[in-house]
Assembly symmetry: C2
Homo-oligomer: 416 residues x 2
Amino acid sequence: MSYRIREMAIKARAASLRLAQASTAKKDAALRAMGQNLLAYQDAIIEANKIDVQNAKEKGLKEVMIERLTLNPSRIAGMAEGLRQIATLPDPIGEVIDGWKRPNGLEIRRVRTPLGVIGIIYESRPNVTADAAGLCLKSGNSCILRGGSEAIQSNTSITDALVEVLDGEDIPKDCIQLIPYIDREAARELMNLNGLVDVLIPRGGEGLIRSVIENASVPVIETGTGNCHTFIDASADLDMAAEIVINAKCQRPSVCNAMETMLVHEIIADEFLPQVAPMLINKGVEIRGCPRTREILPNASVAIEEDWATEYNALILAVKVVDDIGQAVEHINRYGTKHSEAIVSNDFTSAKRFTDEVDAACVYVNASTRFTDGHEFGFGAEIGISNQKLHARGPMGLRELTTHKYIIYGDGHIRT
Amino acid sequence: MSYRIREMAIKARAASLRLAQASTAKKDAALRAMGQNLLAYQDAIIEANKIDVQNAKEKGLKEVMIERLTLNPSRIAGMAEGLRQIATLPDPIGEVIDGWKRPNGLEIRRVRTPLGVIGIIYESRPNVTADAAGLCLKSGNSCILRGGSEAIQSNTSITDALVEVLDGEDIPKDCIQLIPYIDREAARELMNLNGLVDVLIPRGGEGLIRSVIENASVPVIETGTGNCHTFIDASADLDMAAEIVINAKCQRPSVCNAMETMLVHEIIADEFLPQVAPMLINKGVEIRGCPRTREILPNASVAIEEDWATEYNALILAVKVVDDIGQAVEHINRYGTKHSEAIVSNDFTSAKRFTDEVDAACVYVNASTRFTDGHEFGFGAEIGISNQKLHARGPMGLRELTTHKYIIYGDGHIRT
């Protein structure tokens, strides 16, 4: 089979050069029209979605996957509302990030510009199609969307509705394209179009992300895995600690900013563990403890080495009693995924040491790791959470979908 | 053969966590001591270098490569001086980039931190060893250096001199390591140590850079290729244009920010080309022209399609007469490598359009593309020039060797 991914990317790049020049007003009008058109095509989108859901059932997909795949009027209204909200956000493009004058008189400005062409590789949830297209458009980028095969009908129908309005809004229609092929070769081609595609953002499970990192020569922003810790320091307010722990573990256990391991200072372990354990168990949490934890909580399961490195994404919590903050920091820097880490403490030196020494995108003092999120950070939107260090680290909003160019003014300057 | 690259990286990562906490004063003292020790070991370094040079001659390496490889007291003094200069630069680590308070009272700060472990893969020039080690140390990063096989004795000797002083300065010695193996498998292993190595920076020719991009799963900052243009607009001051063109082409033709193609507006082509051509020819430049150029300069060689896409790095200049600025921008966005592009113009609208629409790291008005350089930009140092859009674009100084972490303060905040 012969693919046309390169042709798609060439068109996307041409469109991106035009889109980079589009005014904020035009982009916002297009976003609102896109949302409007999703509502207008609601019936067609739901019909297409039914085919995907039927196929998924026949293939025996898990119930939770089918639930994520399924669209209804309320979810489509949510997508439309998402696009309208993106239209209300400030436009990052054109910001003068900084600027200065050199001793020789050269004037240098650093101006925020779109990245160009962004490839989004994602799984199951069809709402990512509208969401990613909207964020890319607002930030002046063309996107090439590669959804999961299980959602191909839904994604095609959504993309058709989005693209239909672009011409009328004077936005190049090639700035939103969905790859219509469902096999892996198409994705592989996308991942290696250096010079045409500026960045890939995978959104989905660990397997998807790993596959993109291993197969892509185009730069990738790694999102996802969060093996997050909360350390309860000797000086912690234990009621506060219990509330934070319950929130970080139980409020939404399936997401990357949920806590997976709790570390407890030995000085307060005897008091804190019996206090928090019943609250966790009451919420359905299985506790897997180190030997010292199990001395205090004899009913806890045994935590093995593997537990310290596991992102459960479920109601399971590994618990370890540590000698001191040094051991807590060491454990986190060894097993963590550099995502979100918290200390509950009332000691200034401990709080400072923890935030200084823990190597992670987001380091919290006296707050739940669940706040690692573009909306909670005030970015107004989120394309994902990066846990790599290059380009974007932590929640990624519109700003993280941009780069800069240097614009330099001279009056005949030559280098000597 | 079994390699120990992973063990090196594990040590480098442990050292990076300590180095991240080192004070500016300590890092600067170490940099000065490193420079001092290069001078102390000058004779040993030159002895080691002689072996490399001898081997290179026996292998029949090109004269220019041998010239780059050769060390002498003045070059070693230059390396030492480079390290002393890095010690005088402001420390980027710890800068509060921005910060805000959320409506719920959460306080968010974004603080500049080191990247962690940087792999530098480079060719021939042994001075890169000292330079890269110094820049990484100042920015709080461990480095794993992988120089070319032709410089292995020199690089080893330089690294030994650098590392020797670290312990005494209370800087972890594993923060500077040179890979002692000269075959390709060692480099390949380094390129795929995701989670241990945070970024790879290749420095060298196009083949080296391409190989790193294709073989690495660790994120890469692409440096290098510059197919740079200068567009002489209808409104240009032609004397200024000639000066800029001569400078951009001839001042140092072998580097990435030198001009490779000149685009000339048709309105002034009849006047400008006969004015500038003798000046170029006088400097030894071969002109390869489009048909319209050759009507005006009948002695010019013929430019073929390939010329527009070629980075000559030599005294050759492709010349094309264009209808208007639109055609110039289109040509640049088609054939350029998004590095450095210039317009010579006295027309406000043209200058604005050019800087808006040309997609490149550095876009100049009335200045030579030769200014794309960390020192010329005022960064005080340069690890390379990025022509990718992710993380760093354009000249890379110390700031570009950093990332950030978010530090978030709450008082028991939980997400609802």
